[in-house]
Chain length 236, copies 4
C-alpha cells in the first residue's frame, strides 16, 4: 500500500526541516514547499527521492500554491496531512510599518494558509479524515509594537484556523494550531536526554515537530484545537 502523503509548507533549517524529518520517519511521503529549494533539495537527496520531494513555491501567491498542490497530487497523491509552517514578518513599530509590510505578512500568514487548506480540504472531506496543523506564535495572541505586521497576520491566521476548525471538525478533518512561544534553537538542543536541572531556553525544532505529529494522531473523541509550546525556562 502506498505511504500516506504529508505536505509541509515553509522549509527553513529549523522548524521546516524538523517537520520533514519527523513525518518522513513516521512513514509519510513528504512534499516540501518553499520559495527556494536549496535546502529542500538537500533534504530530498538525504531522505531518498521517492519519499521526500521538493517544490519551489511562493506561499504568498495563491496561484503558485494552487498549481503546486496540483503537482503534489499528481506526483504523490492526495495529502492526508498539511503542516502550514510558512510565516514571516517585518520587525518595525506601528508608525514604520508600511502597507507593503502588512500586506506581505497577511499574504504569507493568512491568505497562504487559507489557500493551502482549500487545496487539501476537498479530498479530506471526501475521505472524512485528515489533519491540518498550523504553526502559530505568541504573536497569534497579541500585538506588540515591534510585531505590528507579523502579529496582525498571525491573528488573522488564528481566526481563519478557528473558522475552519468549527466548520470541518464535524466532517472528520482535524484542524489545530500550535502556539510556539519562545525562541527556536537548533535541532537537538532540547532537553530530551539532557540531565535534569539544565536550563532550557530555546525550543528544539524536533520537539515542535513531535508535538505536531502527536496532534495528527489524536483520536477524534479528544481533539485539541490550540496548544501552547514553550521551553521550561521561558518567562510567560
Amino acid at each position: 500500500m502506498a505511504k500516506p502523503v504529508c505536505v509541509v509548507v515553509g522549509i527553513g533549517p529549523k522548524n521546516g526541516a524538523a517537520f520533514v524529518r519527523t513525518f518522513h520517519e513516521a512513514g509519510y511521503r513528504v512534499a516540501m514547499l518553499s520559495r527556494s529549494t536549496e535546502l529542500s533539495s538537500r533534504l530530498a537527496t538525504e531522505l531518498g527521492g521517492s519519499d521526500a520531494k521538493a517544490y519551489a513555491c511562493d506561499a504568498s501567491s495563491p496561484k503558485e500554491l494552487t498549481a503546486t498542490f496540483e503537482a503534489v497530487r499528481a506526483d504523490l497523491g492526495e495529502p492526508e496531512i498539511l503542516i502550514y509552517n510558512a510565516g514571516s514578518g517585518s520587525w518595525k513599530g506601528f508608525d514604520q510599518t508600511t502597507a507593503e509590510d502588512l500586506d506581505r505578512s497577511f499574504r504569507i500568514n493568512a491568505l497562504g494558509m487559507m489557500t493551502a487548506a482549500q487545496a487539501v480540504l476537498p479530498a479530506m472531506r471526501r475521505a472524512k479524515r485528515g489533519s491540518i496543523v498550523i504553526v502559530g506564535a505568541t504573536a497569534s495572541l497579541r500585538g506588540k509594537p515591534m510585531t505590528t505586521a507579523f502579529a496582525a497576520g498571525k491573528a488573522a491566521q488564528r481566526s481563519l484556523a478557528q473558522s475552519m476548525a468549527r466548520q470541518f471538525w464535524p466532517e472528520g478533518v482535524h484542524v489545530s494550531l500550535l502556539i510556539v512561544d519562545g525562541q527556536i534553537g537548533d535541532a537537538g538542543t532540547g532537553e530530551a536526554g539532557a540531565p535534569a536541572g539544565q536550563e532550557v531556553k530555546r525550543l528544539d525544532p524536533r520537539d515542535i515537530s513531535t508535538a505536531a505529529l502527536a496532534l495528527t494522531r489524536q483520536p477524534s473523541s479528544a481533539w485539541s484545537f490550540e496548544i501552547d509550546l514553550r521551553p521550561k525556562n521561558e518567562p510567560w
Copy 2:
C-alpha cells in the same frame, strides 16, 4: 478658538451617522469619510456645512485615504479624534471564501485602519494627546464558519490596535477598541427612556457613539483599551 476636529471613517445610516451626530453635538467639527457621499452630504447639510464635511473616499485604498486626510487637514485642521468605523465582510463558509473576499476584508478592516491611524498619529504625537477609537465586533475575538473573511480582518485589526496602543499610549495618544456584540438596530430604539422590563435585543447606534465619546474623555490615569458593548438581552 477653533472647534476641535473629529474624523469618522465609515458613514452608514446606523453607527456612522450616530458617531457624526454625537461628536458634532459634543462640539467637534466632523470630517465624514465614506465611499459614497449620498448619506454624508445629507448629514453635512443637516448639521450645517461648516461643522460637518463629507469626503468621498474608499477606506480600502491607502492612497485615497492618505490623500483625503491631507484634504481634511487643509480644510479643518489636525484631527484630535479618529473613529475608525469602516468594516465589512462576506458571509461565506471557509471553503467558499475567495482570496478576493479575504483581501477585501483585510483591506477595509486592517490596512485601512492602519493607514488612517498613521495619517493622524504624527500630529497627535506632537501634541501629546489625541484619541483613536476602533469599532470592532464579536468577530474580532473569534472566527466562526460564516464569518471566515470578516473575522480574519477584524482579528488583524484588533492585533494592530494592540500594537498601536502599546506603542503610543505612553506618548499620550489613547487607542481603544469597542467590541460591539450584537445586532445593531435603528437609532433611538435603545432603552434610554424606555420602561424597565422591556426587552432590549439590539444595540442603539446612539448608545454606541456615546460609549465612544466617553472613551475619548477618559482621564489618562485610567484608560481602557477594550470594552464590550451588548444589549441586555443578548446571549453571550
Copy 3:
C-alpha cells in the same frame, strides 16, 4: 423623592473613599461597609450623616454581610447600586501559600461578593433595574507566583460575575467588572488637568470611581461587562 441608595463594600483610603465621594456627589446616599469604621466614620461626618452612613462589617463573613445589608435596607432603603470593592491577598509563592491564605482570599474576593450580590438582587430583580460593579484586578485574568492566593480569589470572583451577568442582565440588572491594571496612587494624582506630556504611572482612585459611575449609567442597549483601566504609562 428620596435619594437612591448605593452600597460600597470595602472602604480604604484610595478606591473605597473615592467611590463614596463620587457616588455621594452624584446624588446617592451611600452605605459604607468595612471591617474598621475609622475611615468611614470620618467620611460620614465629612459628607453629612444623613447621606453617608458607616457600617462595621467583615465582608469575609456571609452572616455579617447579610445582617448588615438588612440594616442598610432598614436605614436607607433598597440599594440601586452595589460596588464590591473588598479584596485582599497574601503575597507569597505557591509553595508558601497556606490553606488559610487561600481561604481568606476566596472568602473576601469571591464568597463575599456573591453574598453581597445576593442581598441586593431580589429588590433589583423586582424593580427590573440596578447595577452591580465589581472591582477586579490584573490578577483576575491570570495567576503569577507571588499572587497565588489573591489571583485564585479574583479568578473565582470574575467567574461568579460572569455567571451573575449572564443570568440577570436579561432581567435588567447590569453586572460589570472593572479590571484595574496598575498601581493605585493617591486621589488627585491622575492627569485630569495635568499638562500633556506628563508621565502617568498610577491610577487615580477618582478616575476609577468615575469609570464605575459611568458603567452604572450605560443605557441597556449597550452594556459593558468587562472594562480594563490602566495608566497611560503602564506596560501591558
Copy 4:
C-alpha cells in the same frame, strides 16, 4: 529498579479509572485517592495489588490529603506524577447557590489541588523533574448561570495552576491543565478504530488519559501549559 509512582486524585468510573489504567499500563505504580474506595479497590484487585493501591481520602480536606500523601510516600515512594482529577459542583443558578455550595466547589477544585500539589512538589523540586496534570473543564474558562459554583472553583483552580506553572517550570516540574470540553462517555466509545464518518459526540475517557500521559512525556524544550480536548462533533 522500582517502577515510578503516579498519584491519581479522584477515582470515578470514567476519567479516574481511565487515568489509573493508562498510567498503570505505561509502567507506573498508581496510588488511587478517592472518598469511597469501592471502585478503587476493585481496580486494585484487577491490576494486581502491588502496582495499584487504593486510599480512602476526601480531597476537600487538606488534613486528610496531606496524611494520605504521607502514606503513599511510605508505601510506594515519592510520586513522579500527580493527576488531579477531583472536582464537582452543584448545578444551580447564581441566586440559588449557597455559601456551602461555593465553599464545597472551592475546596474540592482549588484548595484540594493546591494541597495535593504542595505534597508532591518538594520531592519533585529536589529531583528537578516531575509532572502535575490538572483536569479542568470548559467552566475553567467562563462562568454561566447553571455552573455558578463549579465554574468559580474551576477558575480558581486554573489561576492556581498558572501560578504554580510559572513558579516551578523553570525548576523542571511540568504543570499543565487539560480543558475537557464536552460530555464524557464510557471508555471505549471514542472513535479510535471506529469507521470514518461516524459522529463522535462524547469524550472517551481513555483518550483523555492518553492525552494526559502524552503531556507527562513532553520534552522540556516544548512544554504545553493548557490544552483543550473535545469530541469532533462538539460545537464550540
